[in-house]
Assembly symmetry: C2
Homo-oligomer: 384 residues x 2
């Protein structure tokens, strides 16, 4: 999921505005029966392991499933949008290797908007074009910086790959991914694409509500997704799973930690009550990638902890849990997990920005005042 | 004000979550009696034209009014934080002169965080230090880019000015501002510093709620402030005021526009019902700057339109209205108005980020679903 994985402290709500409608959406329903998720009325279980990510992106950004010809055209168009303007490359070259990759994405998106600024008219068609541009080039931004900051190499940000997920793996590893790796990326990107008013999407809508530009809205969303209580959760899950030399060791340790009331990242969800509908599908991806590689340890650890957490706490894994195994088996460094989430969720963010604009509403709640009243001001010379 | 200036369309609420508490704050009360504003319990009318902006920044970021010695130390500290790291300068040099200055600020803040990233621990003391860094160097960021993109000059971002407002004017004009210009900047910055859960502050809190870093939160807030329904309003106000050759011409034209039900930016406010408590003070600033310069036209136009809008619509000017006159008389180009607002409001944003972290709450509302139900998915080959 990545939309929050911390269990609320007893007697204190850790989620604000939970259940309070902050707007309308035709994009998503989530958790109505406890474990369901749909995009524009389509159950994710019907398509997420069958459709290519570009189909889902088209559904979210362009409001319909593409037919064969439209899909072909869309993929070709996205391929042509992978290139980066030279000033953006120069900016990425200024960012050290030690910088958090989410800071790179935040800066890259902000700079993209400084170079390819949205016109003031805020036309829906233009917003869609910018959304396409973002999902096409975000992988290029990340991996141009990744290689340059580590090796000084200015990589080509073009690749022969047809898909966004394939392009990402190609730029990362410098070679063509296998068909099953590309398929794994499609499924993962499909599952992360949209999730109603989660914190990053809501941040995008708050920004868009002021009639600001779409790069500002997506930059804000990236900043929200960066938080460990949101998108950062899959990175934390990976750290847990990599910690153990066997499933037995993992079980013993986690039982002790749960006994000490430690929070285990990757379990539970504020919106789902029964289970995360995305779990079985991403678990299947994790299993088959692990089997193909002949490396079952991390999967076994993750699966054992799934059983333990259910038995001890009746908590289910969310999408982050087996996503971590999947990305690890795709050879993706842990710190690049959340940037992949960005590429996927940008489709949902862009669609929400467009909705917020059509609604023409600014989001401006109130606050409970808890501070002092009627304080007596003194000029600086009279203060103690 | 800058927190929304569009009149709601009839029968449709243009503000979402209005009156719904989305958290606690000890920072601000606004509009309780229809025209009041306090920071940490201190009425702005008591101090905003007397205190230096650094005092108000200290109140908001460091939770108390500084005494004389503390103020001196704080100002010296802020002076030392004006310098920019070389990689940030290189980034700013990549941004064209045609870019919206708010895009520059968004990119500059994002890049500052890529270079001076907040440690994961999210300590309050560290957040305060970063807040000080931001208010000290944001002017440097803006004006380094401003001059380089226009003339190719790599300006010094140090100045002998004691104050943030003075530093801004010094870098902009390349010379020492007068005492009354510095005083005008203090008052303006004081009035813009904090305004409860306005859209940009709320955006910062949504980002901070995921436990993301403070640069992400402030970058998101800058993106929200950029919108013409929020911070961008003072720029729009200026365009209106500059349009006319006399107050009579302005009155005739605005009467016609109001008759056509056009919206006049700079009037009304969703939180204040009686008036904007900041108006008289900023109007005084605008008047005295205009008198000193011997150029009363823009002030006269603005004042006449204040009378007309009250007479015709019972609408009062908000802070943006006479801020526009004031900044114009300070020789600030219109496109730099909202970046000044950033420098001021960063004090409030930082304080809100700290509050949100102490609350440990993620902000995650729900949505009303308005889309189709139970759609039948077809594979791409079967679609029309």
């Amino acid at each position: 999921m990545g939309d929050k994985t911390i269990t609320p402290a007893k007697g204190k709500k850790s989620v604000v505005l939970s259940g309070v409608a902050a707007g309308n959406t035709a994009l998503c329903t989530v958790g109505r029966t406890g474990n369901d998720l749909s995009y524009r009325g389509y159950d994710i279980l019907d398509f997420a392991d069958k459709a290519e990510f570009e189909e889902v992106a088209h559904l979210l950004i362009h409001e319909k499933w593409p037919n064969s010809e439209e899909l072909l055209n869309y993929k070709q168009k996205l391929q042509q949008l992978r290139t980066l303007p030279e000033p953006l490359k120069r900016v990425l070259e200024q960012i050290p290797a030690t910088t958090h990759p989410m800071d790179v994405m935040r800066t890259g998106c902000a700079m993209l908007g400084a170079l390819e600024s949205e016109p003031e008219a805020r036309e829906t068609g233009v917003a869609r074009e910018i959304g396409d541009r973002m999902i096409a080039c975000f992988g290029s931004i990340l991996l141009y910086w990744w290689h340059f900051s580590r090796s000084g190499n200015r990589i080509e940000v073009e690749s022969p790959e047809e898909s966004i997920g394939g392009h990402f793996l190609h730029l990362l590893h410098g070679q063509r991914p296998t068909a099953s790796q590309v398929r794994a990326m499609h499924i993962s990107l499909n599952l992360y694409a949209e999730h109603e008013f989660n914190a990053s999407t809501f941040a995008a809508r708050v920004v868009a509500g002021t009639d600001s530009d779409i790069h500002s809205a997506i930059t804000g969303a990236i900043g929200a997704l960066r938080g460990p209580k949101h998108g950062g959760a899959n990175e934390a899950a990976c750290e847990i799973q990599k910690r153990y030399a066997s499933a037995d060791e993992a079980e013993a340790d986690i039982r002790a930690r749960v006994g000490r009331k430690e929070i285990i990242i990757g379990f539970g969800h504020p919106v789902y009550t029964i289970g995360d509908p995305r779990n079985e599908m991403i678990k299947g991806v994790a299993r088959s990638l692990s089997a193909e590689a002949g490396e079952m340890l991390m999967f076994d650890v993750a699966e054992r902890l799934e059983t333990v957490m259910w038995e001890m706490k009746k908590m289910f894994p969310n999408l982050d849990w087996f996503s971590a195994v999947s990305y690890h088996m795709l050879g993706v460094p842990t710190s690049l997990f959340t940037p992949i989430f960005i590429i996927s969720r940008t489709t949902g963010w862009v669609a929400h920005v467009i909705e917020q604009r059509i609604d023409k509403k600014i989001i401006r709640p109130s606050a409970e005042y808890t501070g002092p009243e009627n304080q007596l001001w003194k000029p600086v010379g009279e203060r103690e």
